[in-house]
Every structure is written in C-alpha cells, then in structure tokens.
C-alpha cells in the first residue's frame, strides 16, 4: 500500500512564525502536491512538484514556498504565518497523476 505520511497532524503557531509542514511518501512517486482544504472552498492547489528540485505554482501559492530536495519528501513552508493560513493542509503523491494518494492532513491553527 502506498503511504503518504504527514509528520504533524495538529499544530498551533503564532502569527509571524516560520512553519514547516513535512510530507514523505514511500512509493518512489515522481509527483507530489500540497493542497489546503477549507469549508466551502474544497481543495485548492498550493504547489506541486514533478521531480526533485522542480516545483510549479498552483492556484494559491502566495505566502507559501516548497522544497523538494529528495524524491520522497516534499515540504511546505510558511515563511511568516498569518491567521488566514489557518487551515487543513493535505499532501498527496502520484506516479501516474490519474491516481493520487493523499496523506491524512495537517491541521494548522495560527493564533
């Protein structure tokens, strides 16, 4: 079974803090994704990566950056967290992008 692991399930951070959300997949997938999920807005794509050190902006990249130094790991970085970044963050990976596997999500609260 494919496993996509998000290391932090629940985080509470202060405004202005730098936040790292880590995601690891164990199936040698080329593609990895970060979404945020908000009520009434569904999942919105923040960034995706199709190879090591490669990244593409999604719909809402502002306020975020990503890092993909190794194939299995895709990190989402909030350089200076703000309250409007309080959300559920979902990582996903795929080999064939028609089949995407999701992690369990990271609940981030910024106070």
């Amino acid at each position: 079974d494919v496993k996509v692991t998000q290391s932090s399930r629940y985080l509470v951070k202060r405004t202005g803090e730098k936040v790292f959300l880590e995601c690891v997949q164990d199936m040698d997938h080329e593609n990895m994704f970060w979404y945020r999920q908000d009520p009434g807005l569904g999942l919105r794509l923040i960034y995706f990566s199709y190879d090591v050190k490669m990244k593409e902006k999604g719909d809402i990249p502002e306020g975020y950056s990503v890092s993909r130094e190794k194939k299995e790991r895709f990190s989402l970085i909030l350089e200076s967290a703000s309250t409007n970044q309080t959300s559920m963050y979902l990582c996903a990976s795929s080999l064939d992008p028609r089949t995407i596997y999701f992690g369990e999500g990271s609940w981030l609260t910024v106070v």
């Binding site: 009434g40 199709y50 719909d59 028609r98 995407i100 999701f102 369990e104």
Partner: protein, 114 residues
Amino acid sequence: AQSVSQHNHHVILSEAASLELGCNYSYGGTVNLFWYVQYPGQHLQLLLKYFSGDPLVKGIKGFEAEFIKSKFSFNLRKPSVQWSDTAEYFCAVNARNNNNDMRFGAGTRLTVKP
C-alpha cells in the same frame, strides 16, 4: 486552467433515498474525472474515476457516475443511500495534457439520517 463546480453544498437525505450530486467542469480539452469521498476524521479516498470508454463508471460502495461530454458534467449517483454514506464528496478533474494539475470542486456535504 480547468475548474470544477459542485452545485450542492449540503445535502440531507433519509436512508434508502436516492442520491445525485452534481459536478460540472470547464475545460476545452480532454479530461480525466474523479470523485473522492472524505468520511469524518478520515483522509480522502477515491470513489471512482473516468479516463475514457464507457461514460457510465461504477465505483466502490454502490456509487456510479456518468460522464456527459456535451454537458461537461460528471454527476455522482447512488440508488439507495445508507447512514454510513455520511461524508463530504469532492469532484475533481485534470487535463489529459497536464496531468499534474488536479483541480477540485468545493465539495458537497452529505448527511444521511437514519
């Protein structure tokens, strides 16, 4: 880029009622279409997907969806819902020529009353 609209934000049904959740997408090219489900406290799971061929697709747990190209629609159906179908349902689409770009609808919350 492609976009997805789900018209119903919250649907409430009694057990054994029939279900149809609407999904429309906008994109001029060829697409792959998906329905995902998220049960309370759980991660997203794939219900069914359409790539090509028979436009009527059957998924897990008795769900099916029909791709109607002329209407840019991919509605989800189930003839008789159960209390355990209470969940949030997301329609998603990616373009065949840009498979990395998966876009989701806003989701429909389904509540099934026992």
